[in-house]
Amino acid sequence: MEEPRIGVYVCWCGTNISKTVDVEQVTAAVSKLPHVIIARNYKYMCSDPGQDLILKDIREHQLNRVVVSACSPRIHELTFRKVLVNAGLNPYLFEMANIREQVSWVHDDRDIATGKATSLVKAAIQRVAHHEPLEKRRVDIHPATLIIGGGITGLTAAMEIADSGNQVHLIEKSGRLGGMVSLLHQTHPHLTAGNELIQPLIDKAQPHPKVRVWLNSQIEEVTGYVGNFRARIRSGEEVEELDCGNIIVATGTKPFDPSQIPEYGYGMLPGVITSLEFEEMLRKGKIVTKDGESPCDIAIIHCVGSRNMEYHPYCSRVCCTTALKFANQIRAALPDAGIYQLYADMRSFGKGCEEFYMRTSRRGVIFMMFDQKGKLPVVKPNNTGGRGRLLISTRELLSGEEIEIPADLVILMVASEAREDARETAHLTGISLCGNQFFIEKHPKLDPVATTTDGVFIAGSCQGPKDIADSVSQARAAAARVLASILCGSVEVEVTTAVVNDKVCCGCQTCISVCPYHAIHFDEEKRVSEVNEILCKGCGTCGSACPTGAIHARHFTDDQILSQIEGLLSPITLKAMEMAMED
């Protein structure tokens, strides 16, 4: 191996790093280490001038290794690898030290943070010295796409891809297409009928020559990798396997069950219904109480299960405006009815929605605020013989008064929550879940429909509560990502797979027993194990099981990790830390 010539770059990240870590001191501390040719610090390494700095140094100082000490490699590792490529270096001759997420954002003491940052940078330098160039491999993309979920998101993505002439397999768990949108009478803020939005999509998708719709079907297993997935689908008794290059997960959400909130009496008191049950009533064309009478007073309670630490901490995003829509629909049907909105905070955000709120408030709708963090409104039967079958007692937050509201119908604006099969879907497709069981995107701002598994995309409310407009945008975004990869025809895949050194392999086959992907087979003739690099996903489990050290887990080799550990704990950095602490 050629003598390492390492360039080290410490990022300030504006003040994100530099206010807690003394970047000058870190730079100075590592500049004299073996193989370090140049060490610099700069305001924003990821900016164009920052990247140019590296590019120029690589050329001027004939650097053959680069360390950037900045944010998490999950954010900018690819950015900097590209710089190496542009400078004619192999992208794997690079290492990042994460001194923002792991140091400046989590520690306060400047000296200690500087000491820790120094040891992380030192570890990265020791590690990168052992990096070896790896050649990227390209694989062909199978042109078919698997879309899980036949709601508005899945249908939109399906049509976008199918209309471009590529095959789509649309898998729907239930017996009908259309999802949540087909359950809505009208949508906000333009009062367009739900059916008017969804039915044309269904009518187009079903006979489309490039769309195969699978109703009452579920994914049982997904194997393979980007460009070359194989999914096993079960429809009743029948099981079929199909190949696809990309997967879009658009499984949506489900409504919160309000019977777990005792204050609202859902399931006990007739007349207390959910927002979706009210939609059904609207679709049937008549607003009635359980006894079939026309209600005189209707109360709408917001944030049922949302923005409440007991249930879900998040905002479900669609309920406030849906509640306004209900008020308009009720007013149109029952001109004399009392309409009461019991809200925690009105959040009618989005294009045209604030205006919709203003218009609604002029239609004789009474808005009352309750304390979501304090005592919730309580719904109980009205035994006083006065107006209303039910009475809601609440403390109105703006006036501070305890009031009672009569109601014949109480509509609970239920939260949107992750489906009960979200975890299973996540496992099958290799997606991670957030704390609220929604799927996690690759990057919340810059890569919102990709996931950490290449070739698997998420769209719509399975990623988090979303309205129709946002879901459709995501569906089209995911479709664009898929079409781009189909158009390209092939994709670069990670080459950080395992490889067996057949001179050292003793043929014990321990690696074969631990490989989760059956990617290792035994060559009977040579009496050694052999890794199938297409099937290997690079977890490295075989590497740690191999008793003779014959398995080389590329980019996570024993040498690389052991040197990193040495760097982390080397006395120089401990001493630097002690000195820093004594100062």
Binding site: I112, H427, T452, Y517, G540, I561, E566, L569, P571
Partner: protein, 140 residues
């Protein structure tokens, strides 16, 4: 100078490393004693990595992986769990308290839990005191 333990922590790329990143993005403060090494899967953690960390002067080693059933590579965390019990026995025979090695499950959303774990392990190691690896090596 007051003794400050050093912990080497091996975090899997998919769950635990992301969880530690989340502690950062949420600005959750925790003890600075922890030094992170990223591996793709907790199943990659070779016993020699743990031994190396102790040999180089770590006072504790923390391995974190995805929760059971959530492993990005299906079952690497189970492989890690089996090895963990073996390594604990091994370091105990060498005279290093097995409490100095911990295996915990941290998901991508558990930034807070990671921070708490770092604090808890630091406090435990403060009570245990330094390993004094030179004596350990001489005795062996």
């Amino acid at each position: 100078m007051e003794y400050q333990p050093t912990i080497v922590s091996f975090l899997c790329n998919w769950c635990s490393y992301t969880g530690a990143d989340l502690a950062g993005t949420s600005r959750t403060k925790y003890a600075p004693n922890i030094r992170i090494v990223r591996v793709m899967c907790s199943g990659r953690v070779d016993p020699t990595f743990v031994m190396k960390a102790f040999r180089e002067g770590a006072d504790g080693v923390l391995i974190c992986g995805c929760h059971p059933g959530d492993c990005h590579y299906h079952e690497g965390n189970y492989k890690c769990l089996r090895r963990y019990h073996l390594i604990r026995k091994y370091i105990e025979q060498m005279g290093i308290s097995p409490e100095r090695l911990r295996l915990e499950w941290i998901s991508a959303s558990e930034g807070k839990q990671f921070a708490e774990l770092a604090d808890e392990m630091t406090a435990d190691l403060l009570k245990l005191g330094p390993v004094n690896i030179k004596n350990v090596l001489e005795e062996v």
